[in-house]
C-alpha cells in the first residue's frame, strides 16, 4: 500500500487539545466523574491481550473521551521480524476504542526476540535509516494508517553515527508518510545529555509531519538528565515548548507523569499552564480549532 492511500497523519491528527496519560491511579477519577480533560493517551501494552479491568475501563472511557494509543514495544528499529501478533492485537484494540492515532518510539527494544522493555538508542546510519523506513512501511500497511514515531530520551550514542537524530526522524517521516510525536522533554533531555542544541533539533523537523507533543518532567543525575516522568514540567522544558509552538504551531499536547503519580487535579493544573501559553504564542489558533498538520 502506498502511503498516499493510508489514513494519513493530517487526516488523523486533528488538534484534540490537552490530554493526560491514562494511569490506573486515576481510573476511579475518570469512571466516577468526567474530569475536564480533552483527550486520553493509553499505553498500548497495558490493554493488549487482557480481559481484566484495564480493558473494560478503556472501552468505557472511549465512549466519553478521544483515545490515542501510545506503545513501547513495536521496536521499529529492531532487527527481529516485526511481531505480527502484536500488530494484530494493536489493530483490534485501535478499532475497539476508535483510537484517533497510534504512536510508538524511534528505538529498538531488544535483540533476537528478547525484549529488554527499554527504548534503546538507534544507531543513526544510512543502513539503519533504510531498515526503519522499510519497517514503518510494513507497519503502516498492516495497520492501514500512518503511525507517529516519538523521539525517545537517550543517554548514549554510537561512535559510528553518521546522521543527526532529528535529520533521521525527518527523513523517515518524509519518506514513509509517518508522523512525529515530538516529545519536548525528550528533546531537552537528549540534547543536554549529548551536548547538542535543542533549537536546532526542533528547526530540523518537518512541521507538517508533527502530529502531537509530549510534555513531562525529568530528573538530574550525576552527569546526565534522566527522563523520569516525575514531577511538574521543568522551566527549561516550558521554554522549549514555547519555542516549539512558535516554530511548528499548536498540536494535541499530552502531559506524561509516571512516577509518584499525583492527584489528577495536579495534572490538570500542569495542563492549564500549557493552555495558557497558547494565545500569546500562536495568535488566532484556538486549542480546539481545526488546526492540524
Amino acid at each position: 500500500m502506498e502511503f498516499e492511500s493510508l489514513n494519513s497523519v493530517a487526516d488523523q491528527c486533528t488538534n484534540l487539545g490537552f490530554g493526560v496519560g491514562l494511569r490506573t491511579d486515576h481510573y476511579n477519577d475518570f469512571m466516577n466523574a468526567s474530569p475536564d480533560v480533552d483527550w486520553l493517551e493509553a499505553l498500548t501494552e497495558n490493554y493488549l491481550g487482557t480481559g481484566g479491568r484495564p480493558r473494560q475501563v478503556l472501552r468505557q472511557l472511549a465512549q466519553r473521551y478521544p483515545i490515542v494509543l501510545h506503545g513501547v514495544s513495536l521496536s521499529i528499529g529492531g532487527t527481529s521480524p516485526l511481531d505480527k501478533n502484536y500488530l494484530r492485537l494493536l489493530k483490534e484494540l485501535a478499532e475497539e476504542v476508535q483510537a484517533r492515532w497510534i504512536s510508538d518510539h524511534l528505538c529498538w527494544t531488544g535483540y533476537a526476540h528478547h525484549n529488554l522493555h527499554d527504548l534503546l538508542p538507534m544507531p543513526f546510519t544510512e543502513a539503519s535509516l533504510s531498515h526503519i523506513k522499510d519497517r514503518v512501511d510494513q507497519t503502516q500497511n498492516f495497520l492501514g494508517r500512518a503511525i507517529l514515531l516519538e523521539n525517545p530520551s537517550s543517554y548514549a550514542s554510537f561512535t559510528f553515527d553518521s546522521i543527526a537524530e532529528a535529520q533521521f526522524l525527518r527523513e523517515i517521516a518524509l519518506s514513509t508518510g509517518c508522523g512525529i510525536l515530538l516529545d519536548v522533554n525528550n528533546v531537552y533531555v537528549s540534547t543536554v545529555n549529548h551536548g547538542l542544541d535543542a533549537h536546532t533539533y526542533i528547526d530540523t523537523l518537518p512541521a507538517d509531519a508533527v502530529g502531537q507533543y509530549h510534555l513531562a518532567g525529568h530528573s538530574e543525575r550525576d552527569g546526565y538528565l534522566l527522563d523520569s516522568h516525575i514531577g511538574p514540567v521543568p522551566e527549561p522544558v516550558w521554554d522549549l515548548y514555547r519555542y516549539t509552538l512558535a516554530k511548528l504551531g499548536t498540536r494535541s499536547t499530552l502531559l506524561e507523569w509516571d512516577d509518584e503519580i499525583p492527584e489528577l487535579t495536579v495534572l490538570l493544573e500542569e495542563n492549564a499552564k500549557a493552555k495558557a501559553m497558547l494565545p500569546a504564542m500562536t495568535a488566532g489558533r484556538g486549542v480546539s480549532g481545526e488546526l492540524h498538520v
Binding site: T50, L116, S157, D161
Partner: protein, 259 residues
C-alpha cells in the same frame, strides 16, 4: 560497523553480569559522561525495571525472602527466562516453575509464586460469556447434566502443600511478621474475578474434585457423578450442590455447551 552488530553488542552488554571492557569502541564519551557511565544508565534501568515488574506480581514472595534475596532470584530467573513478550505482564509466567526447579531453594517459594501468579492470571484473563443461573435452573436435571460447564479462564484452581491462604491474608493486611514462613498442610484454593477484583477461597476436597471434574470431564453429569457419592450425608450433598450453584450464580462458569 553494522548497526545490527551494535545492537547485538549493546543488548549483551546490558544483560551481562559485568559491563564489558570494549564500550569505547561502540559508545561515545563526552565531557559530561564517559561511555561506561552511559551504558551503565541502561544496565541499571534494565535491572530496576525487571525487578520492579516482578515485585508488583510477587509482593508476598518479596516480603518472605526480603528485597536483596528477591533481586538475586530475579536476576537468576531472568538469565533463564528473559522477556520474549511485548508486555511485562508475562515476565513472571515461569517464575514459580523456575523456583521449583532450583534444588537449593525451599519448596514453599515455588508454592508462593504459583499462588501469586494465579491471582495475576485471573486478573488478566479474557473470559467468554458466563453461564446464567436463571437459564440453567429451568433445565430438567438430566438436561443440565448433559451440559459442559467449564470454569471461566479467570476461575482458577491450584493445590498447595502449604496454607498459603492464611499467609496471603496476613500479607494483605500488613500483618506479616518478618521471618514468617507458611505452615505445611494440603490446601486447595480457587481464584476468581468479580467486578474486576480478584479473590481467593480455600475449598474442601469435594468442591475441589467437582471443580477439577468441570475442568476436565465431558459434561456436568460426568463431573458430578464420582463426587456426589462421596458426600457422607444429604446435608453434605446439598452443600456440594449449593457450592456449584454459587459458582454459577457468581458467573464463574462459561456459558454451557451440550457435552
Amino acid at each position: 560497523m553494522k548497526f545490527e552488530d551494535a545492537q547485538k553488542w549493546m543488548h549483551a552488554a546490558i544483560v551481562a553480569q559485568e559491563a564489558p571492557d570494549e564500550v569505547h569502541q561502540y559508545l561515545k564519551s563526552t565531557d559530561g559522561a564517559c561511555a561506561h557511565r552511559r551504558l551503565g544508565v541502561y544496565r541499571d534501568m534494565y535491572r530496576v525495571r525487571m525487578s520492579e515488574s516482578l515485585q508488583m506480581d510477587y509482593g508476598l514472595l518479596l516480603q518472605v525472602v526480603g528485597e536483596e534475596e528477591f533481586d538475586r532470584l530475579s536476576e537468576r530467573y531472568l538469565e533463564v527466562y528473559p522477556s520474549t513478550s511485548y508486555t511485562l505482564n508475562d515476565l513472571g509466567r515461569h517464575f514459580a516453575s523456575y523456583l521449583g526447579s532450583q534444588k537449593d531453594l525451599p519448596p514453599y517459594l515455588e508454592a508462593i509464586a504459583r499462588f501469586e501468579f494465579a491471582l495475576v492470571r485471573s486478573f488478566d484473563a479474557t473470559d467468554p460469556r458466563p453461564a446464567d443461573w436463571t437459564e440453567l435452573s429451568t433445565l430438567p436435571l438430566e438436561d443440565l447434566c448433559e451440559r459442559t460447564l467449564r470454569p471461566l479462564p479467570s476461575f482458577i484452581g491450584e493445590k498447595f502443600s502449604y496454607r498459603l491462604d492464611n499467609l496471603y491474608e496476613a500479607y494483605l493486611q500488613d500483618k506479616l511478621e518478618p521471618g514468617t514462613l507458611p505452615d505445611e498442610g494440603e490446601c486447595a484454593v480457587l481464584f476468581f474475578r468479580e467486578n474486576f477484583r480478584v479473590y481467593h477461597m480455600p475449598v474442601d476436597d469435594l468442591s475441589w474434585e467437582l471443580f477439577q471434574g468441570l475442568q476436565h470431564k465431558r459434561n456436568f453429569g460426568e463431573a458430578l457423578d464420582p463426587v456426589l457419592p462421596k458426600a457422607k450425608d444429604p446435608t453434605a450433598q446439598q452443600n456440594l450442590l449449593g457450592t456449584f450453584q454459587q459458582w454459577v450464580g457468581r458467573s464463574l462458569l462459561a456459558h454451557p455447551e451440550i457435552g
